[in-house]
Symmetry: C2
Subunit: 153 residues, 2 copies
Amino acid sequence: MDNPVITLGERGDKSALEEKCVLTPKFDADGLIPAVAMDAETKEPLMLAYMNEKSLLMTLELGEAVYYSRSRQEIWHKGATSGHVQKVKEIRTDCDQDALILYVEQLGAGACHTGRSSCFYRKVSLDDGRDPAALSFTQADLTFDPKAVYHDK
Amino acid sequence: MDNPVITLGERGDKSALEEKCVLTPKFDADGLIPAVAMDAETKEPLMLAYMNEKSLLMTLELGEAVYYSRSRQEIWHKGATSGHVQKVKEIRTDCDQDALILYVEQLGAGACHTGRSSCFYRKVSLDDGRDPAALSFTQADLTFDPKAVYHDK
């Protein structure tokens, strides 16, 4: 049986956006909304990307994260080529519905094209290296070989 | 003693952005970068807002989250009026340095102007209510009275 049609609601006033139970996301002037993928188990942030309306509806239909690639200007089904699919466990939205959080099960060795489990593998060194501000690695070692996974990069 | 000057690095090539230890954030066409505040202890997402270069440097100087309000078009020192300051414990950036994660200690009763601890208090109902897609509350009860805290809203 086909899935029932999924649609998004129409945006109402501030009170409706904040207190009602209809998904009425706000897409920006470029038709995009930021979406942060987080590991559903560890709650570690994996990546921040963007969705347009079509990719959000595909995400809801498939149960897998589908983004919109701003650099390639196309729908980006995460993991379609690498196998590093993100199975969606929960999607949250915020008060004014202009941001999304996806709790996902990250398949494969990691989310980041550099070969790490998370894109957020560096932190700002708050106590030194201020001119310019320095970073330090929170995860230095690669968890997979990006050349073997992303053949065309 | 005054703090030493904090500056941001100049953006280099892809390899430098991804593998070097200099903070070289990418601000978008509007001069903004998305910043997700997360509770440093529980790892729960609190809010997603934006920073411009000045507010990011102020955040680094103060050790408290300073955003740029797109609606008010001004620097927004979170908690300056409400007392709900976010003490910055750690700042992460991602591979191409166009997103920030702030792990914070949220002072006061919560991050959200609606009176809740987090702005992400609703989740998408993935299994029902699909036309239009429905939300359900993950945190229904208020943790503070927004009228008492935000007098001018």
